[in-house]
């Protein structure tokens, strides 16, 4: 009898624990998870409120309307003025297919709703058919269109930005899709092997190739590591593995500057080994690799290998931007911006201002340093070397008459067998107004041949048309 009662109480305690755990979980869910869950674009409650609200327009930095909503008798529907051009920036907003990009991440701003939905309901009772806010982007419509036309027919991405404020002028990723005809083409879009829904500029991870030598060179200068007058034969043997230059001819006797100008792989590989992985990785992380880049859209994290067993061949590969180094094009644009902006990397920005329905600016971005990549002296030294890259080295195709351009080319080997063609740079060198990163994915050609001319044209266009 005694034993029976004890066991009965044990079962009772067990059931009570179950009930209490329900209460704890429910509270946990409400406090920590509910907000994220509620804002899921599949939550139809968001749509119910939305259809009574005039969704705000999206305009470029000069006030050109890119997307807006119009009233058609009962509900509002979304109009995209430029088809494919803004698919990776603005995205889409449809009841049946959800939302993406700025339409998703700035949903509450575009609708001018606060987080509490009970309040929204009340607001809708008091003030039906209210109006949302307008988003003014940092994008320059002309440059965006111009950049996309240059990239047309290829796979790849372009990021063009202001290095001293972080404003993005153009961000292109191809292939893209047309939000206007999304419904009809949905199954083609999602099944396409070239993934047109992917914004390569912020979500594509690529080997940076020689463009990464800018980072390695910064680390070498900062740590005073130098191979002195190095005799390049076009090949070097590291741990028994030969490491070759792109053409394998050899650059003769060169110093660090020469090595960067002519993109000498053996020099950077050996200097990188002498420097060591810890120092190199420290600088790489200051240039935002292995770091979350804060942005108006989610950015994939670039990666630099510094964990686990790292041998000499791995360091050599990392020093020339091969092997396990993976970057987003946005990250490379930030690296160029950092050198251009005296060593300071600014937070990249896509949304310049939020404007209320009365035309009042209720929120505007503030330029913000997210990382001090290097000091002003090192940045200057690198800038001069990068100017030489364009003037006499591998980046000649990016030369602009009367304007000094700083840049670095890259030709990245990758598993596809066709090299990625890279160019990063900025202009004018003495007072940089534009920084750029261009990648042509699996182009099978060098960055100097294919990416540099595109970058040049965009920089010229930007310097001629954008007035801040």
């Amino acid at each position: 009898m005694e034993k029976e009662i004890k066991r009965i109480i044990a079962v009772l305690i067990g059931i009570c624990i179950l009930f209490v755990s329900l209460v704890v979980y429910l509270t946990y869910f409400q406090v920590f998870r509910a907000n994220a869950v509620r804002n899921n674009s599949y939550n139809k409650r968001l749509w119910i409120n939305e259809e009574k609200i005039l969704r705000g327009s999206i305009i470029d930095r000069n006030g050109r309307i890119l997307a807006y909503s119009e009233y058609n008798g009962e509900t509002y529907s979304r109009v995209y003025n430029y088809g494919n051009l803004y698919s990776h920036i603005i995205g889409y907003s449809y009841r049946d297919y959800g939302k993406s990009n700025l339409e998703l991440h700035y949903n509450n701003v575009l609708l001018n709703i606060s987080d509490s939905s009970a309040l929204n309901e009340l607001k809708n009772l008091v003030e039906p058919n209210s109006e949302g806010n307008t988003l003014k982007l940092t994008i320059d419509h002309h440059l965006q269109e111009y950049s996309r036309n240059l990239l047309k027919g290829k796979k790849g991405a372009i990021v063009a930005m202001n290095p001293s404020t972080g404003e993005i002028y153009a961000m292109v990723s191809l292939p893209d899709f047309n939000p206007v005809t999304l419904r009809e083409e949905w199954s083609n879009i999602v099944e396409d092997e070239d993934s047109p829904l992917l914004n390569r500029a912020i979500s594509g991870l690529y080997q940076p190739g020689s463009t990464f030598k800018v980072v390695t060179a910064t680390a070498l200068l900062e740590n005073d590591v130098s191979l002195g007058e190095y005799k390049c034969t076009g090949t070097t043997i590291i741990d028994g593995y030969p490491l070759k230059d792109y053409d394998g001819k050899g650059h003769g006797t060169i110093d660090l500057e020469g090595a960067l100008v002519y993109s000498c792989n053996p020099y950077f590989a050996e200097a990188g080994i002498e420097l060591g992985i810890d120092k190199l990785s420290e600088t790489a992380e200051k240039f935002m690799l292995n770091k979350e880049i804060p942005f108006d859209l989610p950015v994939k994290k670039s990666s630099f290998p510094n964990k686990g067993n790292i041998g000499k061949t791995d360091i050599a590969a990392a020093s020339i931007g091969q092997g396990k180094v993976l970057v987003t094009p946005l990250n490379m644009a930030l690296i160029a911006s950092g050198i251009a902006n005296k060593g300071d990397i600014m937070k990249p920005v896509l949304v310049k201002e939020v404007i209320s329905k009365n035309g009042k600016v209720i929120d505007s971005f503030e330029a913000e340093v997210i990382s001090r990549a290097t000091d002003i002296f090192t940045a200057n030294e690198l800038k001069n070397m990068m100017v030489d890259v364009v003037n006499i080295g591998t980046g000649k195709n990016a030369r602009i008459r009367n304007i000094r351009v700083a840049g670095k080319t890259g030709t990245a080997e990758n598993p596809s067998g066709n090299d990625h063609a890279w160019f990063i740079g900025f202009a004018p060198a003495e007072d940089p107004k534009i920084a750029i990163a261009v990648i042509l994915e699996e182009e099978g050609s060098t960055g100097g041949q294919k990416a540099a001319p595109i970058a040049k044209n965009i920089m010229v266009e930007a310097l001629n048309t954008i007035n801040n």
């Binding site: 009965i8 079962v11 009570c16 139809k44 409650r45 009970a118």
Partner: protein
């Protein structure tokens, strides 16, 4: 009574006030579409609940809080169901009224007749008969084949089998000494349990599988003298659970949806994610009755009524409902410990465990704390079979709460 006036501190009066306020709120919300019959139904519900509680307090000598807790739960359920679907709400009022009548009938019948503990073989054969009938006549509904329809009235035999199973276990352990003397007598119950679980599994009613397993295991833990057997049984159950996970895709899919429902938001994760939207929308205080959108959840008035309560009344009300169940279970266990008649002691335990586990499984399911299995919340969810069987079980528990003559043995 009359001399004292109305004492608001009496629980049944508090319940009355709660119901009046909720009803008023709802009538205000639906004032444009309100008709006379709805008001009559609403008021008659309050009247029935109040009078039943009043009668109960006069005629029974046992626990009169049980019925109070249950009518409170049923009131919350009915308000929510009516708000979602008027027609179902009115039907639910009828089901509850029949349930209350059945409760009193059960109470008087069980109390009047003796010898319930000697009907082991009848409980068993009735259960098996119902299982077989379900197999032959069963209709597939929401993935499970656990409904049968006779003469236009469809019901869920499992709901009745639950009560039969509890009575069967109670009579088995009451006569444990007799059974033990027989060859294999100690294994009868385990064999029966596996048979039941097998039947439920081929009906694809995973929620009931969980309920029956917990019920058998808990009672076996308390009463079986062969401890090794209890332990071995537990191991076998866990093992067959894992095996079921590996072999049957419909089991595996529940686990995968539980781990990451968002991945399957368009397909198998649709219900649970809609439920999570509702709960997160409600916050602590809810959107207010009629101001949320619980109707976005499929099957909301049955399995997902808890999510609707959380959305419109807030998770504080949700926690309140959980606490009501906890008090109900606690009182059931207390009744059991105080009961000297072994048969009713075990029956009270079984019924309390049933209420507790069943509500836990569905609460945990709709908030995605445990994998979702479609079962109803006793007394709260919409549905006749569940409501009636729950009231019958409550009637038995009511009898168990009284001092009964100890059988001479």
């Amino acid at each position: 009574m009359l001399n004292k006036g109305i004492n608001y501190r009496l629980p049944r009066n508090l319940l009355f006030v709660f119901e009046m306020m909720a009803l008023f709120l709802m009538f205000m919300y639906y004032r444009s579409t309100l008709d006379k019959s709805t008001i009559i139904y609403g008021l008659s519900l309050i009247f029935i609940v109040y009078v039943s509680n009043l009668i109960l307090s006069k005629i029974v000598s046992g626990d009169n809080y049980l019925f109070l807790i249950v009518t409170m739960l049923a009131s919350i359920g009915i308000i929510m169901i009516y708000r979602i679907n008027h027609e179902q709400g009115i039907k639910q009022i009828i089901w509850i009224s029949i349930g209350i009548v059945l409760f009193f009938v059960t109470y008087f019948v069980v109390k009047r007749f003796k010898g319930w503990e000697n009907l082991f073989i009848y409980y068993l054969s009735a259960s098996i008969f119902l299982f077989v009938a379900t197999l032959i006549l069963g209709k597939r509904f929401r993935g499970a084949v656990n409904w049968i329809s006779i003469g236009g009235i469809s019901f869920q035999p499992t709901e009745i089998i639950k009560i039969l199973a509890i009575l069967m276990i109670a009579s088995y352990y009451t006569n444990y000494d007799k059974f033990k003397k027989k060859k294999w007598g100690n294994y009868y119950l385990i064999g029966i349990m596996y048979l039941f679980v097998f039947f439920l599994f081929i009906q694809r009613d995973l929620g009931s599988v969980l309920i029956f397993c917990s019920l058998f295991l808990a009672l076996q833990y308390i009463y079986n003298e062969n401890r090794k057997l209890v332990f071995a049984n537990l191991v076998v159950l866990i093992f067959s659970g894992l095996l079921g996970f590996a072999i049957f895709p419909h089991v595996k899919i529940r686990f995968e949806t539980w781990i990451n429902p968002w991945k399957y938001i368009d397909t198998i994760g649709y219900q649970i994610t809609q439920s999570l939207f509702a709960i997160s929308e409600g916050g602590f205080f809810g959107t207010g009755l009629g101001l949320g959108h619980p109707d976005f959840i499929p099957e909301v008035s049955k399995d997902f009524i808890f999510s609707a309560i959380c959305e419109e009344m807030g998770i504080l009300a949700g926690i309140g409902v959980i606490m009501l169940f906890m008090i109900l279970v606690y009182r059931g266990f207390k009744i059991s410990i105080n009961q000297k008649n072994k048969f009713f002691r075990i029956a009270a335990l079984g019924i309390s465990i049933l209420f507790g586990i069943q509500s836990f499984i569905i609460f945990g399911g709709v908030i995605n704390m445990i994998p979702l299995t479609g079962i109803t919340i006793p007394f709260v969810s919409y549905g006749g079979s569940s409501m009636l069987s729950s009231f019958i079980a409550l009637g038995i528990l009511q009898v168990a709460s009284e001092e009964l003559d100890i059988e001479e043995d």
